[in-house]
Symmetry: C2
Subunit: 539 residues, 2 copies
């Protein structure tokens, strides 16, 4: 696996500096590189209880992304998946702790427990009030092993952080954090292990398997089963939670372990709602990548029982982009469809002269089918003639229903007809042309002006101008000359079509993908069709 | 590749429903499933100019994640990487457009240009004012091909959205959006292609190569080179931008194409700042996944020249979690290290009796080295004896510097000595034990009480209690009996140590990882060491 990093030993500090640089001055770090990597709120004045967390890196945005108002005061960053040193933790405590004291929120791993524990003891010898809460939210491992701390830690951060932010005492903060840590539960699963920069990727999870009860360091979960679907995956989590759910309502935190797409995470949010515990989930935090295992293609779900106090604390708005906020979870809101999507109905009307013109155009296009296909085959996929012939036949068979006596209505009807019967981009472009003309004619413009306005719309959408080897090469000069006479228009169209033979470079349309030596000497089939239509109209 | 999805044909609508369910009522959708997938602001009253975007899915959070105050009014979601239908786009326009009109912001791909173009024409026949802006920000492809619309589209969304939010007319919105679309430029690159659910992954980019000028659908970029580092990757982007940078200062939008980790994106943010154009970047949006190509392991950088108007518009706070906001870009803020990290200095003092006790303990531990190692080897890595002996020798050699005459100071000094000389978790745990005791003794407690308080701290951090087959099994009964006499303490320690032979299940410590048949019959080496120390103290 290759990663967007430089020297392996500098990853964590370069990443921290990147976050700090982009934080708009909200974050600072201690001057302790390379061994002491402590990130703290730049606006901290020690007047409130400091909330400190941290641990190994590789869980981003945890924990630097959660340093800020209402969550963490400071965080201590170890190497990837490795506990920070006692000195680094002590530095964080000493840097941000005032008379109000501090709380250390520690994910339960041996290294973190010991190092945070000793740092707390050392800090106390400075006369500081230091308390500690361990998070052990992973419910997947069988007892008696101590449970690991995973994504549920974020619930503890937020609850403790908001109590501190509101001016709570250290005792208030410890009570709230302990309540959160005691009641939060999480389960994770993944379709693959994670890849650590500079290390060989472990191939423990075979393609098509899903590992259940996964931690956040690539350590093995409780077992693997065959992966079936998002729904089935969600059911494993639901089955694990159900026997432990003793409260009425819960908030769910849906966490991306790093490598799942936003699309998948949204599907999983849907599955959570429609699961058998969905009705007991009143709120949701996420889906979002909050506590990751680098690029692990998995997710975790955290449940936390909601009481009114915690609901208020978790609902507090946050300036932190990494914290997605808590929202109510409910059925999607659905609005009625607007009117106007049914095909327009036109009142048929007769105009023998217009009918004759259309018939001649259609007959011409049908007759030119194979010639136009042959032209197209030289630089394209050889179907321009057939596409036009199909549309022409459809139009002929529906002529009796057309509003031939009203040019504005007729243009709109032609747009609809071509859009329905003609495939490919030319069908849509001609529909835009006639729709634009119809819109213009509806405003009282002469049909010649209307057609030119239709052309402008079509050119804007396609990006094609004269010289790009498209039907515009014939259509634009023809419509300009139409101000003078139909005969001039036909002459201009023919001249424009013939000139497409000399084009060697196009800026839009399919010719822009074709090399000069393929283009030269070939007439564009769309322009040729336009020229033939104008020529037959003159006859 | 396996994905957290259910039936392939339902991915987009299930994902949309998931987002809507988790939106807390902020978003609605039109009742047009399965073909018409339009998401809109639930609070929209048509009084302002509607801003509509959309296109193929697979770019999440774009575009549903940007529907809300100050950005999009509605978005139209096609299948993965496929343009939505004309009907779907028309439905969106009709649903949200009032007298103020609407602007369509369209990424420049043929399908999107045509379908949005025709939908606009059809909407105009309803008398609605509909304008359209194409985004063509990809600067990677050689002219003359039309540039694609990629992550720079988000700049256009935000600028147009904020002008509308502020009550601007359709003309104001079009002017602002056109300015944004004209000046924004983006370049992307990736270490791998993306995996589309239900399709075979294209293996176009070999491991160790990086493809430059990549789009957001896995379509090929302009070329591949050997990947060297984050710094070198950033230099390709910088080289592409430099000749096109005609303004003084720019904002950079740093976008994760989906599969890069937050750690890597932060390293890239750092590289952007220290690059040769870093001094001209006054602001940054991100790093964040905003316009993705599913799970593509790449990134894109967008540059946009900042004038005062756009700076204000882009700085507007947003309630949208997918929009990371614009922040100033600058050198990381660094705070001085706190005092107190240097090892504590103790004033040596003498106390022959205490000195004698310590010497006897140390001698005992040194003498027991191989026996304790042998005990440890039965269930662990066989180094408990050596670890203790090393610490004992270090302590003996430093005895003259210890504050032997002051028990509080002595405990703290022992903690520091053990933490420095004794490896593994037992060194940290004993340091916590003596630190806790020192902290207690400093508050005036008797040394017996102080040692018990040290034990409480150590138990909390380790999670180990009597019965978990650790040194606590001897230490706790000993300290409890110490209230009576040293002799009772020694008897209790021995009894506790011997009882560890009968333990078959531990809830903490290394024994929790060992099976019952391995545990039974073996004395814990830590408990044995404690018993021997107490026994020698009685002699």
């Amino acid at each position: 696996m290759f990663h967007f990093v430089n020297a392996k030993e500098n990853i964590v500090q370069e990443a921290i500096d990147g976050i700090l640089s982009a934080s708009g001055g909200r974050l600072s770090r201690l001057d302790g590189y390379p061994f002491i990597r402590v990130v703290m709120r730049a606006d901290w004045d020690k007047s409130k209880v400091a909330i400190i967390s941290g641990g190994g890196s590789g869980h981003e945005p945890a924990h630097v992304g959660f340093v800020g108002e209402g969550m963490l005061t400071a965080t201590v960053c170890g190497d990837i998946f490795a506990s920070p040193s006692v000195d680094a933790i002590l530095a964080a405590i000493l840097a941000v702790t005032g008379k109000a004291g501090c709380l250390l929120i520690v994910k339960s791993y041996t290294g973190d427990r010991l190092n945070f524990g000793l740092a707390a003891e050392r800090a106390r010898t400075f006369g500081l009030s230091v308390e500690m809460v361990f998070v052990e939210d992973d419910i997947s491992l069988p007892e008696p092993q101590a449970a690991r701390g995973i994504a549920g830690t974020l619930i503890v951060h937020k609850i403790a952080g908001e109590v501190s932010e509101a001016g709570g005492t250290l005792e208030n903060v410890v009570v709230a954090a302990t309540r959160a840590a005691t009641n939060v539960m999480t389960i994770g699963m993944s379709l693959d292990t994670c890849s650590v920069p500079g290390s060989e990727k472990e191939q423990r999870i075979a393609p098509g398997k899903i590992e259940l009860g996964l931690g956040i360091h690539g350590e093995p979960g409780v077992g693997q089963v065959t992966f079936e679907s998002a729904r089935r995956a969600m059911s494993y989590a639901v089955d694990a939670f159900k026997p432990r759910m003793r409260s009425e309502t819960y908030v769910a935190l849906l966490n991306n372990l790093g490598g799942s797409t936003a699309l998948e995470m949204s599907v999983l949010a849907r599955e959570l709602l429609v699961s058998s515990i969905g009705s007991r989930l009143s709120h949701i935090i996420g889906p979002s990548a909050m506590m990751t295992a680098l690029d692990m293609k998995g997710f975790s779900i955290t449940l936390y029982p909601l009481n009114i106090d915690d609901e208020l604390l978790l609902s507090e708005p946050s300036p932190l982009n990494s914290w997605p906020g808590m929202r109510t979870l409910g059925e999607p809101s659905v609005m009625p469809m607007p009117h106007g999507l049914t095909p327009l109905k036109f009142t048929p009307s007769s105009n023998p002269s217009v009918e004759g013109l259309i018939k001649r155009c259609c007959d011409t296009l049908i007759a030119a089918e194979s010639e136009l296909n042959a032209l197209d085959a030289k630089t394209g996929d050889g179907d321009t003639g057939s596409t036009l012939a199909v549309a022409a036949r459809a139009l002929l068979s529906n002529l009796e229903n057309m509003p031939l006596g009203d040019s504005a209505q007729l243009f709109l009807a032609l747009a609809q007809e071509l859009n329905q019967s003609m495939g490919g981009s030319s069908g849509v472009l001609l529909a835009i042309f006639f729709s634009g003309a119809g819109d213009s004619a509806s405003k009282g413009h002469d049909f010649k002006v209307a057609l030119r306005e239709g052309l402008i719309k079509m050119k804007k959408v396609s990006g094609a101008n004269v010289g790009d080897c498209t039907m515009v090469d014939a259509l634009e000069p023809a419509l300009n000359a139409l101000k003078t006479s139909l005969s001039d228009a036909a002459t201009a169209a023919r001249k424009g079509a013939d000139q497409t033979k000399n084009i060697t470079k196009a800026n839009a349309g399919r010719a822009s993908y074709v090399s000069a030596d393929q283009l030269i000497g070939n007439t564009d089939p769309g322009a040729e069709a336009v020229a033939r239509v104008f020529e037959v109209l003159v006859e």
